[in-house]
Protein backbone atom coordinates (compact mmCIF):
# COMPACT_ATOMS: atom_id res chain seq x y z
CA UNK A 1 0.00 0.00 0.00
CA UNK A 2 2.74 2.41 0.90
CA UNK A 3 3.94 3.03 -2.60
CA UNK A 4 5.78 6.29 -3.09
CA UNK A 5 2.72 7.69 -4.87
CA UNK A 6 0.23 6.94 -2.13
CA UNK A 7 2.64 8.38 0.41
CA UNK A 8 3.13 11.50 -1.65
CA UNK A 9 -0.61 11.88 -2.16
CA UNK A 10 -1.25 11.54 1.56
CA UNK A 11 1.39 14.14 2.32
CA UNK A 12 -0.11 16.60 -0.15
CA UNK A 13 -3.59 16.04 1.20
CA UNK A 14 -2.48 16.62 4.76
CA UNK A 15 -0.62 19.82 3.92
CA UNK A 16 -3.60 21.10 1.96
CA UNK A 17 -5.92 20.44 4.87
CA UNK A 18 -3.55 22.14 7.27
CA UNK A 19 -2.99 25.15 5.04
CA UNK A 20 -6.66 25.80 4.62
CA UNK A 21 -7.79 24.84 8.11
CA UNK A 22 -9.03 28.25 9.30
CA UNK A 23 -11.40 28.26 6.37
CA UNK A 24 -13.11 24.95 6.88
CA UNK A 25 -12.83 24.45 10.65
CA UNK A 26 -15.92 26.46 11.48
CA UNK A 27 -17.99 24.46 9.07
CA UNK A 28 -17.25 21.24 10.95
CA UNK A 29 -18.15 22.73 14.31
CA UNK A 30 -14.68 23.76 15.45
CA UNK A 31 -12.83 27.01 15.81
CA UNK A 32 -9.45 28.26 14.72
CA UNK A 33 -7.91 28.14 18.16
CA UNK A 34 -8.83 24.50 18.44
CA UNK A 35 -6.97 23.93 15.20
CA UNK A 36 -3.94 25.71 16.59
CA UNK A 37 -4.13 23.54 19.65
CA UNK A 38 -4.28 20.37 17.57
CA UNK A 39 -1.23 21.45 15.60
CA UNK A 40 0.77 22.27 18.71
CA UNK A 41 -0.09 18.96 20.34
CA UNK A 42 0.66 17.20 17.09
CA UNK A 43 4.09 18.78 17.01
CA UNK A 44 4.70 17.63 20.57
CA UNK A 45 3.45 14.13 19.84
CA UNK A 46 5.48 13.86 16.65
CA UNK A 47 8.58 15.02 18.45
CA UNK A 48 8.01 12.39 21.09
CA UNK A 49 7.47 9.83 18.37
CA UNK A 50 10.85 10.62 16.88
CA UNK A 51 12.16 9.01 20.02
CA UNK A 52 9.40 6.50 20.73
CA UNK A 53 8.27 5.19 17.37
CA UNK A 54 11.49 5.58 15.42
CA UNK A 55 14.24 4.99 17.96
CA UNK A 56 12.24 2.66 20.15
CA UNK A 57 12.88 4.56 23.36
CA UNK A 58 10.05 5.16 25.81
CA UNK A 59 9.97 8.52 27.52
CA UNK A 60 7.05 9.18 29.80
CA UNK A 61 8.42 12.49 31.01
CA UNK A 62 8.45 14.67 27.94
CA UNK A 63 6.13 17.19 29.55
CA UNK A 64 9.18 18.48 31.42
CA UNK A 65 10.74 19.87 28.25
CA UNK A 66 7.37 20.94 26.94
CA UNK A 67 6.99 22.85 30.18
CA UNK A 68 10.39 24.43 29.90
CA UNK A 69 9.26 25.79 26.58
CA UNK A 70 6.02 27.03 28.10
CA UNK A 71 7.67 28.81 31.01
CA UNK A 72 10.58 29.97 28.88
CA UNK A 73 8.15 31.84 26.71
CA UNK A 74 6.07 33.21 29.55
CA UNK A 75 8.97 34.31 31.69
CA UNK A 76 10.77 35.93 28.76
CA UNK A 77 7.82 38.01 27.68
CA UNK A 78 6.83 38.94 31.19
CA UNK A 79 10.22 39.75 32.67
CA UNK A 80 12.86 39.97 29.97
CA UNK A 81 11.77 41.33 26.63
CA UNK A 82 8.31 41.46 25.12
CA UNK A 83 9.22 39.54 22.04
CA UNK A 84 7.59 36.37 20.81
CA UNK A 85 10.69 35.27 18.94
CA UNK A 86 12.92 35.85 21.93
CA UNK A 87 10.53 33.79 24.01
CA UNK A 88 10.77 30.96 21.52
CA UNK A 89 14.52 31.07 21.56
CA UNK A 90 14.71 31.01 25.34
CA UNK A 91 12.14 28.23 25.64
CA UNK A 92 13.89 26.02 23.13
CA UNK A 93 17.32 26.68 24.59
CA UNK A 94 16.11 25.85 28.08
CA UNK A 95 14.55 22.63 26.89
CA UNK A 96 17.64 21.70 24.93
CA UNK A 97 20.00 22.39 27.81
CA UNK A 98 17.98 20.38 30.28
CA UNK A 99 17.59 17.54 27.82
CA UNK A 100 21.29 17.49 27.03
CA UNK A 101 22.28 17.20 30.67
CA UNK A 102 19.60 14.78 31.78
CA UNK A 103 20.20 12.74 28.66
CA UNK A 104 23.77 12.15 29.71
CA UNK A 105 22.57 10.76 33.02
CA UNK A 106 20.02 8.36 31.67
CA UNK A 107 20.97 7.35 28.17
CA UNK A 108 22.57 4.08 29.17
CA UNK A 109 19.40 2.86 30.88
CA UNK A 110 16.84 0.76 29.12
CA UNK A 111 13.23 -0.26 29.08
CA UNK A 112 11.27 0.08 32.29
CA UNK A 113 14.14 1.65 34.14
CA UNK A 114 14.50 4.37 31.55
CA UNK A 115 10.77 5.03 31.56
CA UNK A 116 10.65 5.34 35.33
CA UNK A 117 13.56 7.72 35.40
CA UNK A 118 12.01 9.95 32.76
CA UNK A 119 8.85 10.08 34.84
CA UNK A 120 10.83 11.03 37.92
CA UNK A 121 12.76 13.76 36.14
CA UNK A 122 9.52 15.04 34.68
CA UNK A 123 8.27 15.36 38.21
CA UNK A 124 11.28 17.45 39.18
CA UNK A 125 10.37 20.18 36.75
CA UNK A 126 6.71 20.07 37.71
CA UNK A 127 7.76 20.48 41.28
CA UNK A 128 9.93 23.48 40.44
CA UNK A 129 7.15 25.16 38.49
CA UNK A 130 4.72 24.46 41.28
CA UNK A 131 6.87 25.58 44.17
CA UNK A 132 8.90 28.49 42.90
CA UNK A 133 6.04 30.89 43.56
CA UNK A 134 7.95 34.10 43.16
CA UNK A 135 9.17 33.31 39.71
CA UNK A 136 6.67 30.98 38.17
CA UNK A 137 3.53 32.03 39.95
CA UNK A 138 3.25 28.64 41.55
CA UNK A 139 -0.01 26.83 41.37
CA UNK A 140 -1.74 29.86 39.93
CA UNK A 141 0.49 29.80 36.91
CA UNK A 142 2.17 32.63 35.13
CA UNK A 143 -0.21 35.21 33.79
CA UNK A 144 -0.15 38.89 33.02
CA UNK A 145 1.56 38.54 29.69
CA UNK A 146 0.40 37.80 26.18
CA UNK A 147 1.44 37.16 22.62
CA UNK A 148 3.60 39.90 21.26
CA UNK A 149 3.21 41.10 17.70
CA UNK A 150 5.92 39.88 15.40
CA UNK A 151 7.87 42.54 13.63
CA UNK A 152 9.27 41.51 10.27
CA UNK A 153 10.65 44.91 9.52
CA UNK A 154 8.41 45.54 6.60
CA UNK A 155 5.25 44.43 8.38
CA UNK A 156 4.05 43.67 11.86
CA UNK A 157 1.81 40.72 12.46
CA UNK A 158 -0.61 40.89 15.33
CA UNK A 159 -0.91 37.35 16.53
CA UNK A 160 -2.76 38.20 19.68
CA UNK A 161 -6.03 39.35 18.24
CA UNK A 162 -5.78 37.68 14.90
CA UNK A 163 -6.33 34.00 15.53
CA UNK A 164 -5.71 33.19 11.92
CA UNK A 165 -2.34 34.88 11.93
CA UNK A 166 -1.44 32.96 15.05
CA UNK A 167 -2.50 29.74 13.43
CA UNK A 168 -0.23 30.39 10.47
CA UNK A 169 2.65 31.15 12.78
CA UNK A 170 2.08 27.80 14.44
CA UNK A 171 1.79 26.15 11.06
CA UNK A 172 5.07 27.67 9.95
CA UNK A 173 6.86 26.36 13.02
CA UNK A 174 5.17 23.00 12.52
CA UNK A 175 6.24 22.87 8.92
CA UNK A 176 9.87 23.65 9.61
CA UNK A 177 10.07 21.21 12.52
CA UNK A 178 8.34 18.41 10.71
CA UNK A 179 10.44 18.90 7.58
CA UNK A 180 13.63 18.68 9.61
CA UNK A 181 12.48 15.57 11.44
CA UNK A 182 11.38 13.90 8.22
CA UNK A 183 14.69 14.68 6.55
CA UNK A 184 16.61 13.33 9.50
CA UNK A 185 14.61 10.12 9.55
CA UNK A 186 15.31 9.57 5.88
CA UNK A 187 19.05 10.11 6.33
CA UNK A 188 21.77 7.61 7.21
CA UNK A 189 21.60 8.88 10.77
CA UNK A 190 17.87 8.27 10.84
CA UNK A 191 18.41 4.74 9.64
CA UNK A 192 20.76 4.06 12.52
CA UNK A 193 17.88 5.01 14.82
CA UNK A 194 15.64 2.49 13.10
CA UNK A 195 18.38 -0.06 13.55
CA UNK A 196 18.51 0.66 17.26
CA UNK A 197 14.75 0.30 17.50
CA UNK A 198 14.67 -2.95 15.59
CA UNK A 199 17.57 -4.74 17.24
CA UNK A 200 19.86 -2.92 19.56
CA UNK A 201 22.36 -5.73 19.84
CA UNK A 202 22.68 -6.01 16.10
CA UNK A 203 23.06 -2.24 15.82
CA UNK A 204 25.88 -2.36 18.34
CA UNK A 205 27.53 -5.15 16.42
CA UNK A 206 27.36 -3.13 13.26
CA UNK A 207 29.52 -0.52 14.90
CA UNK A 208 26.80 1.93 15.83
CA UNK A 209 27.56 3.69 19.13
CA UNK A 210 24.08 3.10 20.47
CA UNK A 211 24.12 5.29 23.58
CA UNK A 212 25.46 8.25 21.66
CA UNK A 213 22.83 7.97 18.97
CA UNK A 214 20.06 7.59 21.52
CA UNK A 215 21.29 10.75 23.21
CA UNK A 216 21.17 12.64 19.93
CA UNK A 217 17.69 11.35 19.16
CA UNK A 218 16.59 12.29 22.67
CA UNK A 219 17.99 15.78 22.24
CA UNK A 220 16.27 16.34 18.90
CA UNK A 221 13.01 15.07 20.28
CA UNK A 222 13.17 17.35 23.33
CA UNK A 223 14.12 20.40 21.28
CA UNK A 224 11.01 20.15 19.13
CA UNK A 225 8.81 19.37 22.10
CA UNK A 226 10.01 22.51 23.85
CA UNK A 227 9.26 24.48 20.69
CA UNK A 228 5.75 23.09 20.91
CA UNK A 229 5.73 24.25 24.51
CA UNK A 230 6.56 27.82 23.58
CA UNK A 231 3.69 27.81 21.10
CA UNK A 232 1.36 26.37 23.71
CA UNK A 233 2.18 29.18 26.08
CA UNK A 234 1.34 31.63 23.32
CA UNK A 235 -1.90 29.85 22.61
CA UNK A 236 -3.11 30.27 26.17
CA UNK A 237 -1.32 33.49 27.04
CA UNK A 238 -0.65 31.59 30.20
CA UNK A 239 1.85 29.18 31.75
CA UNK A 240 0.35 26.43 33.84
CA UNK A 241 2.32 24.01 36.02
CA UNK A 242 -0.14 21.38 34.95
CA UNK A 243 1.54 21.50 31.52
CA UNK A 244 4.48 19.78 33.15
CA UNK A 245 2.65 17.04 34.98
CA UNK A 246 2.94 13.37 34.24
CA UNK A 247 -0.52 13.37 32.76
CA UNK A 248 0.62 15.74 30.07
CA UNK A 249 3.44 13.32 29.31
CA UNK A 250 0.94 10.52 29.18
CA UNK A 251 -1.22 12.52 26.78
CA UNK A 252 1.68 12.86 24.34
CA UNK A 253 2.31 9.15 24.44
CA UNK A 254 -1.32 8.23 23.93
CA UNK A 255 -1.54 10.58 20.94
CA UNK A 256 1.42 8.88 19.33
CA UNK A 257 0.11 5.40 20.06
CA UNK A 258 -3.46 6.22 19.06
CA UNK A 259 -2.47 7.59 15.70
CA UNK A 260 0.11 4.93 15.03
CA UNK A 261 3.67 4.98 16.32
CA UNK A 262 5.19 3.46 13.25
CA UNK A 263 4.01 6.08 10.81
CA UNK A 264 5.13 9.63 10.39
CA UNK A 265 1.74 11.31 10.41
CA UNK A 266 0.28 8.97 13.00
CA UNK A 267 0.78 11.31 15.96
CA UNK A 268 -0.92 14.13 14.04
CA UNK A 269 -4.01 12.01 13.65
CA UNK A 270 -3.77 10.89 17.24
CA UNK A 271 -3.46 14.48 18.42
CA UNK A 272 -6.45 15.56 16.37
CA UNK A 273 -8.64 12.82 17.80
CA UNK A 274 -7.45 13.29 21.34
CA UNK A 275 -7.67 17.07 21.46
CA UNK A 276 -11.12 17.13 19.95
CA UNK A 277 -12.27 14.36 22.26
CA UNK A 278 -10.83 16.06 25.31
CA UNK A 279 -12.43 19.34 24.31
CA UNK A 280 -15.80 17.71 23.87
CA UNK A 281 -15.74 15.57 26.99
CA UNK A 282 -14.57 18.29 29.35
CA UNK A 283 -17.35 20.58 28.21
CA UNK A 284 -19.99 17.90 28.60
CA UNK A 285 -19.23 16.33 31.94
CA UNK A 286 -17.51 16.76 35.26
CA UNK A 287 -16.13 13.27 35.06
CA UNK A 288 -13.95 13.87 32.04
CA UNK A 289 -11.07 12.26 33.94
CA UNK A 290 -12.81 8.91 34.00
CA UNK A 291 -13.53 9.12 30.30
CA UNK A 292 -9.99 10.01 29.40
CA UNK A 293 -8.73 7.22 31.64
CA UNK A 294 -11.11 4.77 30.04
CA UNK A 295 -9.96 5.98 26.67
CA UNK A 296 -6.35 5.16 27.54
CA UNK A 297 -7.36 1.67 28.64
CA UNK A 298 -9.39 1.04 25.50
CA UNK A 299 -6.58 2.20 23.21
CA UNK A 300 -4.14 -0.16 24.88
CA UNK A 301 -6.53 -3.08 24.73
CA UNK A 302 -7.98 -2.59 21.26
CA UNK A 303 -5.90 -0.11 19.27
CA UNK A 304 -2.28 -0.73 20.22
CA UNK A 305 -1.09 -0.24 16.68
CA UNK A 306 -3.11 2.91 16.30
CA UNK A 307 -5.45 4.18 13.64
CA UNK A 308 -2.86 4.11 10.89
CA UNK A 309 -1.77 0.68 12.02
CA UNK A 310 -5.26 -0.61 11.34
CA UNK A 311 -5.45 1.17 7.99
CA UNK A 312 -2.19 -0.38 6.95
CA UNK A 313 -3.23 -3.85 7.92
CA UNK A 314 -6.54 -3.53 6.08
CA UNK A 315 -4.76 -2.39 2.95
CA UNK A 316 -2.20 -5.16 3.11
CA UNK A 317 -4.76 -7.97 3.39
Amino acid sequence: MDTPYTKRAADVLIWLLLLTMPYWIDAVGGYTQLGSRVLIMALAAMSLNFLLGYTGVLSFGHAAYFGLGVYGMGLTIKYLVPSTLAGMAVGVLAGAAAAAIIGLLIVHLRGIYFAMVTIAFGQVFYFIAYRWNNVTGGDDGLSGWSRQPIDFGFATVDILHNQRAFYYLVLLCFLISVAIMAALLRSPFGRTLLAIRENERRARFLGIPVDRHIWISWLISCIFVSLAGTLYALLNNFADPHDLRWDQSGDFVIMAVLGGMRSFWGPLIGAAIFVVLQDYVSSETQNWMSFIGLFFVLVVLFFPRGVLGIVRRKAAS
Binding site: F189, R191, E198, N199, R201, R204, F205, L206
Partner: protein, 249 residues
Protein backbone atom coordinates in the same frame (compact mmCIF):
# COMPACT_ATOMS: atom_id res chain seq x y z
CA UNK B 1 52.03 -11.59 11.37
CA UNK B 2 48.86 -13.48 12.20
CA UNK B 3 45.59 -11.65 11.92
CA UNK B 4 44.16 -12.91 15.18
CA UNK B 5 46.10 -14.13 18.21
CA UNK B 6 44.16 -15.28 21.21
CA UNK B 7 46.60 -15.84 24.08
CA UNK B 8 45.69 -17.86 27.15
CA UNK B 9 42.21 -16.47 27.38
CA UNK B 10 39.89 -17.52 30.16
CA UNK B 11 36.40 -16.51 31.12
CA UNK B 12 34.97 -17.19 34.51
CA UNK B 13 31.39 -16.70 35.68
CA UNK B 14 31.57 -17.00 39.43
CA UNK B 15 32.78 -20.54 39.97
CA UNK B 16 32.00 -21.67 36.43
CA UNK B 17 34.95 -21.54 34.06
CA UNK B 18 33.43 -21.32 30.62
CA UNK B 19 36.65 -20.79 28.71
CA UNK B 20 39.82 -22.17 30.23
CA UNK B 21 43.19 -20.92 29.09
CA UNK B 22 42.54 -21.19 25.36
CA UNK B 23 45.03 -20.00 22.78
CA UNK B 24 44.41 -19.79 19.08
CA UNK B 25 46.16 -18.19 16.14
CA UNK B 26 44.42 -17.45 12.87
CA UNK B 27 46.33 -16.41 9.77
CA UNK B 28 45.07 -13.89 7.30
CA UNK B 29 42.99 -15.52 4.57
CA UNK B 30 42.36 -18.68 6.58
CA UNK B 31 39.03 -20.39 7.00
CA UNK B 32 38.98 -21.87 10.49
CA UNK B 33 36.27 -23.99 12.04
CA UNK B 34 35.72 -24.28 15.77
CA UNK B 35 33.95 -27.44 16.82
CA UNK B 36 33.21 -29.19 20.04
CA UNK B 37 30.40 -30.83 21.98
CA UNK B 38 27.64 -28.73 23.50
CA UNK B 39 28.74 -26.62 26.40
CA UNK B 40 32.31 -26.52 25.15
CA UNK B 41 32.37 -22.76 25.39
CA UNK B 42 32.46 -22.02 21.67
CA UNK B 43 29.93 -19.19 21.67
CA UNK B 44 31.46 -17.75 24.83
CA UNK B 45 34.77 -17.79 22.99
CA UNK B 46 33.21 -15.82 20.14
CA UNK B 47 31.67 -13.44 22.63
CA UNK B 48 35.12 -12.75 23.98
CA UNK B 49 36.65 -12.10 20.60
CA UNK B 50 33.82 -9.86 19.43
CA UNK B 51 33.70 -7.94 22.70
CA UNK B 52 30.29 -8.99 23.93
CA UNK B 53 32.02 -10.29 27.06
CA UNK B 54 35.24 -9.27 28.70
CA UNK B 55 37.83 -11.93 29.34
CA UNK B 56 38.81 -12.77 32.91
CA UNK B 57 42.41 -13.23 31.85
CA UNK B 58 44.51 -13.45 28.74
CA UNK B 59 44.98 -11.26 25.70
CA UNK B 60 43.26 -10.88 22.38
CA UNK B 61 45.47 -9.41 19.70
CA UNK B 62 44.00 -8.39 16.38
CA UNK B 63 46.38 -7.32 13.65
CA UNK B 64 49.03 -6.51 16.20
CA UNK B 65 46.74 -4.54 18.49
CA UNK B 66 45.52 -5.64 21.90
CA UNK B 67 41.75 -5.25 21.64
CA UNK B 68 40.86 -6.89 24.95
CA UNK B 69 39.50 -3.70 26.44
CA UNK B 70 37.58 -2.44 23.46
CA UNK B 71 33.78 -2.30 23.36
CA UNK B 72 31.99 -4.24 20.62
CA UNK B 73 31.32 -1.23 18.42
CA UNK B 74 35.00 -0.37 18.42
CA UNK B 75 36.03 -3.87 17.51
CA UNK B 76 33.67 -3.59 14.57
CA UNK B 77 35.51 -0.45 13.49
CA UNK B 78 38.77 -2.37 13.74
CA UNK B 79 37.41 -4.90 11.31
CA UNK B 80 35.74 -7.73 13.20
CA UNK B 81 32.19 -8.61 12.20
CA UNK B 82 30.04 -11.43 13.50
CA UNK B 83 26.78 -13.26 13.15
CA UNK B 84 24.88 -14.82 16.02
CA UNK B 85 23.55 -18.24 16.83
CA UNK B 86 20.04 -16.81 16.80
CA UNK B 87 19.87 -14.64 13.72
CA UNK B 88 20.08 -10.98 14.65
CA UNK B 89 18.64 -8.78 11.96
CA UNK B 90 16.16 -5.91 11.74
CA UNK B 91 12.89 -7.77 11.37
CA UNK B 92 10.51 -4.98 10.41
CA UNK B 93 12.82 -3.51 7.81
CA UNK B 94 13.26 -4.81 4.28
CA UNK B 95 16.30 -6.78 3.18
CA UNK B 96 17.49 -3.77 1.27
CA UNK B 97 17.20 -1.54 4.33
CA UNK B 98 18.93 -4.15 6.46
CA UNK B 99 21.91 -4.07 4.15
CA UNK B 100 21.87 -0.36 3.60
CA UNK B 101 22.54 0.40 7.23
CA UNK B 102 25.87 -1.44 7.58
CA UNK B 103 26.97 -0.11 4.18
CA UNK B 104 26.37 3.44 5.37
CA UNK B 105 28.01 2.80 8.71
CA UNK B 106 31.06 1.27 7.03
CA UNK B 107 31.32 4.30 4.76
CA UNK B 108 31.55 6.54 7.81
CA UNK B 109 28.07 7.96 7.29
CA UNK B 110 26.44 6.96 10.51
CA UNK B 111 25.96 10.52 11.71
CA UNK B 112 25.14 12.02 8.35
CA UNK B 113 21.89 13.98 8.45
CA UNK B 114 21.71 14.18 4.70
CA UNK B 115 22.92 12.27 1.68
CA UNK B 116 23.88 13.73 -1.67
CA UNK B 117 22.54 12.17 -4.87
CA UNK B 118 25.87 10.68 -5.82
CA UNK B 119 26.55 9.30 -2.36
CA UNK B 120 23.08 7.80 -2.38
CA UNK B 121 23.79 6.15 -5.70
CA UNK B 122 27.08 4.71 -4.46
CA UNK B 123 25.34 3.23 -1.43
CA UNK B 124 22.58 1.73 -3.53
CA UNK B 125 25.10 0.21 -5.91
CA UNK B 126 26.94 -1.45 -3.08
CA UNK B 127 23.69 -2.80 -1.62
CA UNK B 128 22.76 -4.25 -5.00
CA UNK B 129 26.17 -5.86 -5.18
CA UNK B 130 25.64 -7.53 -1.83
CA UNK B 131 22.14 -8.65 -2.78
CA UNK B 132 23.45 -10.31 -5.93
CA UNK B 133 26.26 -12.06 -4.11
CA UNK B 134 23.75 -13.79 -1.88
CA UNK B 135 21.07 -14.23 -4.54
CA UNK B 136 18.67 -12.11 -2.52
CA UNK B 137 17.91 -9.53 -5.20
CA UNK B 138 14.45 -10.94 -5.82
CA UNK B 139 13.53 -10.61 -2.16
CA UNK B 140 15.08 -7.22 -1.57
CA UNK B 141 11.86 -5.40 -0.69
CA UNK B 142 10.47 -8.05 1.63
CA UNK B 143 10.59 -7.64 5.38
CA UNK B 144 13.40 -9.74 6.77
CA UNK B 145 11.22 -11.00 9.59
CA UNK B 146 8.99 -12.69 7.04
CA UNK B 147 11.70 -14.54 5.17
CA UNK B 148 12.65 -18.17 5.48
CA UNK B 149 15.31 -18.98 8.02
CA UNK B 150 18.00 -19.57 5.39
CA UNK B 151 17.38 -16.20 3.75
CA UNK B 152 17.44 -14.44 7.10
CA UNK B 153 20.77 -16.02 7.83
CA UNK B 154 22.10 -15.06 4.40
CA UNK B 155 20.96 -11.48 5.02
CA UNK B 156 22.77 -11.47 8.34
CA UNK B 157 25.95 -12.74 6.75
CA UNK B 158 25.77 -10.10 4.04
CA UNK B 159 25.18 -7.43 6.70
CA UNK B 160 28.39 -8.53 8.36
CA UNK B 161 30.11 -8.49 5.00
CA UNK B 162 28.83 -5.00 4.29
CA UNK B 163 31.03 -3.77 7.09
CA UNK B 164 34.09 -4.66 5.01
CA UNK B 165 35.54 -6.69 7.86
CA UNK B 166 38.94 -8.28 7.90
CA UNK B 167 37.73 -11.05 10.16
CA UNK B 168 34.29 -12.60 9.92
CA UNK B 169 32.97 -14.64 12.83
CA UNK B 170 30.05 -16.90 12.00
CA UNK B 171 28.28 -18.58 14.89
CA UNK B 172 26.62 -21.77 13.67
CA UNK B 173 25.61 -20.38 10.30
CA UNK B 174 23.72 -23.51 9.33
CA UNK B 175 21.96 -24.12 12.62
CA UNK B 176 18.40 -25.26 12.18
CA UNK B 177 18.64 -25.59 8.42
CA UNK B 178 17.63 -28.37 6.10
CA UNK B 179 19.98 -29.87 3.52
CA UNK B 180 19.25 -27.45 0.70
CA UNK B 181 19.61 -24.37 2.86
CA UNK B 182 22.78 -25.74 4.41
CA UNK B 183 24.21 -26.26 0.94
CA UNK B 184 23.27 -22.73 -0.14
CA UNK B 185 24.83 -21.12 2.90
CA UNK B 186 27.96 -23.20 2.56
CA UNK B 187 28.32 -22.12 -1.06
CA UNK B 188 27.81 -18.51 -0.04
CA UNK B 189 30.53 -18.75 2.59
CA UNK B 190 32.88 -20.36 0.07
CA UNK B 191 32.19 -17.59 -2.43
CA UNK B 192 32.89 -14.93 0.17
CA UNK B 193 36.08 -16.64 1.22
CA UNK B 194 37.36 -16.92 -2.34
CA UNK B 195 36.18 -13.62 -3.84
CA UNK B 196 36.65 -11.28 -0.92
CA UNK B 197 39.69 -13.17 0.40
CA UNK B 198 38.06 -12.93 3.78
CA UNK B 199 39.45 -14.50 6.95
CA UNK B 200 36.60 -16.50 8.39
CA UNK B 201 36.22 -18.33 11.68
CA UNK B 202 33.06 -20.31 12.08
CA UNK B 203 31.48 -22.41 14.79
CA UNK B 204 29.82 -25.46 13.34
CA UNK B 205 28.13 -28.64 14.42
CA UNK B 206 27.52 -29.96 10.92
CA UNK B 207 30.65 -31.93 10.00
CA UNK B 208 29.89 -31.90 6.30
CA UNK B 209 30.17 -28.13 6.36
CA UNK B 210 33.37 -28.28 8.36
CA UNK B 211 35.00 -30.67 5.95
CA UNK B 212 33.81 -28.77 2.94
CA UNK B 213 35.03 -25.38 4.12
CA UNK B 214 37.74 -25.48 6.73
CA UNK B 215 41.47 -25.13 6.23
CA UNK B 216 42.07 -25.87 9.88
CA UNK B 217 39.91 -27.01 12.76
CA UNK B 218 40.09 -26.08 16.43
CA UNK B 219 38.37 -28.35 18.92
CA UNK B 220 37.08 -27.12 22.25
CA UNK B 221 35.74 -29.32 25.01
CA UNK B 222 34.41 -28.06 28.33
CA UNK B 223 36.27 -24.82 27.93
CA UNK B 224 39.66 -26.36 27.09
CA UNK B 225 41.47 -26.47 23.82
CA UNK B 226 41.40 -30.15 22.98
CA UNK B 227 43.07 -30.32 19.58
CA UNK B 228 43.90 -28.35 16.49
CA UNK B 229 44.84 -29.35 12.98
CA UNK B 230 43.70 -30.09 9.45
CA UNK B 231 40.19 -31.52 9.16
CA UNK B 232 41.40 -35.03 8.35
CA UNK B 233 43.71 -35.14 11.35
CA UNK B 234 40.95 -34.00 13.65
CA UNK B 235 38.55 -36.58 12.31
CA UNK B 236 41.08 -39.30 13.15
CA UNK B 237 41.93 -37.87 16.55
CA UNK B 238 40.86 -40.28 19.31
CA UNK B 239 40.55 -37.68 22.02
CA UNK B 240 38.14 -35.73 19.85
CA UNK B 241 36.09 -38.80 19.12
CA UNK B 242 35.75 -39.73 22.75
CA UNK B 243 34.81 -36.17 23.67
CA UNK B 244 31.89 -36.36 21.26
CA UNK B 245 31.00 -39.92 22.11
CA UNK B 246 31.28 -39.18 25.78
CA UNK B 247 28.62 -36.52 25.23
CA UNK B 248 26.36 -38.91 23.40
CA UNK B 249 26.59 -41.50 26.16
Amino acid sequence: MSLLRVENVSKQFGSLIAVNNVSMTVESGELRAIIGPNGAGKTTFFNLISGFLRQTSGRIIFDGEDIGDLLPARRVWRGIARTFQVTEVFPELSVRENLRIPVEVASGMRLRPWLSRSADRTVRARVDELLDMAALAGKAERLVGELAHGDQRATEIMMALALKPRLLLLDEPTAGMGDQETYDITQLILRLHKNAKLTIVLIEHDMRVVFHLADRVTVLDQGHLLAEGAPKEIAANEAVQSAYLGQAA
